[in-house]
């Protein structure tokens, strides 16, 4: 569904060339939950930004359903690939009601008629577990978890096929995080979505992704099925990452590589 071929991206900061991405090749298939894992500086966010059209790659191609995906992309491509950001605090316009925020994609992509917008927004809110009364509220009265749910509802509004999720739960408390992750899985099943999940949290990846790539300093360190990578990590870097996970149960410690 999405093919990434030989992507490379450089940044020039004060006459120093930083190779943010080198030689990135991967294939994301329909209905995958594809995790991109790495620490800060690994390039995972740069890769996500290229997929979203925020940056333009220096080399290589992205193909979405066999068609080129450029920085300047068609409205149709934008409709099909949506985005949930990391920071729930800044993802919603503080001066707009939840209704206005969620109806924006509905209007841009002409999903429903003008008089059906309210109904559709109510429906979207119900998918993410929020009451219709949230429609008239402003973001500053919502908790972090609720804001992120609104962000997910907004992403679903354009009836996309792919969701790119950039650390969607990292800024949330652990119980809320668990609920939101459950919600994301439920939605994925219900709407047959493909997820590209970017995170640094390996425990989350272990439980929701079927494929994973580990990035380190702009290159792909390791890739494969989640189970294989966790049970039999090939690269030392991957092993170190898994060992560093702060586990809470003794039986979990035993699962880490020696």
């Amino acid at each position: 569904m999405i093919e990434i071929k030989n992507i490379a991206k450089r940044f020039i900061i004060k006459n120093i060339v930083v190779e943010a991405l080198q030689d990135i090749n991967l294939i994301i298939e329909e209905k995958d939950c594809f995790a991109i894992v790495g620490e800060s500086g690994s390039g995972k966010t740069t890769l996500a930004n290229i997929m979203l059209g925020i940056y333009q790659q220096d080399e290589g191609d992205i193909l979405f359903e066999k068609k080129q995906l450029h920085r300047k992309r068609s409205l149709y491509q934008r409709k099909l690939i949506q985005y949930v950001q990391q920071n729930p605090m800044s993802t919603l316009n503080p001066k707009k009601t939840i209704l206005k925020t969620i109806s924006l994609p509905l209007k841009i992509h002409n999903i429903v008629n003008k008089n059906q917008i309210n109904e559709r927004v109510k429906k979207l809110l119900s998918y993410v577990g929020l009451d219709p009364e949230f429609m008239v509220r402003y973001p500053d009265t919502l908790s972090g978890g609720q804001k992120q749910r609104v962000a997910i509802a907004r992403a679903l509004a354009s009836e996309p096929r792919v969701l790119i999720l950039d650390e969607p739960t990292s800024a949330l408390d652990v119980i809320v995080q668990s609920k939101v992750l459950n919600l994301l899985l439920k939605i994925k099943e219900e709407f047959n979505l493909t997820y590209i999940f970017i995170t640094h949290d390996l425990s989350v990846v272990r439980n929701i992704a079927n494929k994973v790539i580990v990035m380190n300093k702009g290159k792909i360190e390791e890739s494969g099925n989640t189970k294989d990578v966790f049970l039999n990590p090939k690269s030392n870097y991957t092993k170190e990452l898994i060992k560093a996970i702060p586990t809470v149960l003794e039986k979990e410690d035993a699962l880490k590589p020696k």
Binding site: L52, I54, Y83, Q85, S90, T91, N93, P105, A151
Partner: protein, 282 residues
């Protein structure tokens, strides 16, 4: 919804000066609106002379006294408020849309647009308001209120450009702007529907403060002989005409001058109150 019960009014009213300012401004506006009905001598505003009653000091009949040709100064001051407020409203109605639009475009679109727009803004900002207004009036036929309003607007819009430009640049990197861009929202939508609402607290505060300053600048221009022409009552003109007769007939200049002071003070206090309430920096 009772406006006095809202959280905003509560915050605003923490400072007694802000409330005083609000009272002053409301009073001035009401006086100006109902001028023909509440003033004792509305006919003194037009061509009218009464040499029998000229240069009379303040009394019960003529609260602020009469001027050199017998017109009631109190009535003329209240009507003068009409001119001042009209000036303020019209000038800002021209300056604010221009300034805001330029600031949004320069801040959001960036690159060449930003360069060109901000350099133009810098040029206008470099010239003092009064000088700029004078030059523009000088270029036009003859001085009157309309030309004064245009001239003052030209001196005012750059400040709005700069204000909105700064806010736009700081909001540009927020998550919700990126979300709208990725979603496919047009640049126009993002500027006017996403960014502009976030500029409103600062804009409202600045507009309120500026109403006072525009009136002051307008009065200064009238003082110099530009602005509203006789017999239309204009506070600045009245101060000017009465200045040569100080200190004998002190009431010619004092009351119009005081009127200017009160209205400018009022808008200043309200503006400061809004600044505290919205917690902004203009």
């Amino acid at each position: 919804m009772n406006i006095f019960k809202t959280k905003y009014f509560y915050k605003y009213s923490r400072n007694p000066l802000s409330v005083i300012g609000l009272v002053i401004v409301t009073t001035v506006i009401l006086l100006a609106l109902f001028a023909p009905y509440i003033t004792p001598f509305p006919e003194h505003v037009g061509p009218f002379t009464d040499f029998y009653n000229k240069s009379k000091p303040p009394s019960w009949e003529y609260i602020f006294g009469t001027d050199k040709i017998g017109r009631d100064i109190f009535t003329r001051v209240i009507f003068g408020y009409r001119i001042s407020l009209t000036l303020g409203v019209v000038v800002l109605s021209i300056a604010v849309p221009i300034g805001v639009a330029m600031g949004l475009c320069a801040g959001y679109i960036g690159r060449k647009t930003e360069l060109i727009l901000m350099r133009i803004t810098d040029i206008f900002l470099a010239i003092p308001a009064l000088v700029l207004a004078l030059s523009i009036i000088g270029l036009l036929d003859r001085p009157n209120l309309f030309y004064t309003m245009i001239a003052v607007s030209m001196a005012w819009w750059p400040w709005y450009t700069r204000l909105v430009y700064n806010i736009t640049r700081s909001i540009k990197t927020e998550g919700y702007i990126a979300a709208a861009e990725i979603m496919g929202a047009s640049k126009l939508h993002i500027m006017f529907r996403e960014i502009l609402p976030n500029c409103l607290p600062s804009l409202l505060t600045k507009i309120t403060l500026d109403l006072g300053f525009v009136i002051l600048v307008g009065s200064s221009l009238s003082f110099l002989g530009l602005g509203a022409q006789p017999p239309t009552p204009d506070l600045g003109t009245m101060v000017a005409k009465g200045a040569s007769f100080l200190p004998d007939t002190w009431w010619f200049s004092l009351f119009p001058g005081f009127a200017i002071l009160i209205v400018v003070l009022g808008f200043n206090l309200v503006g400061d109150g809004l600044k505290d309430m919205f917690d902004v920096d203009v």
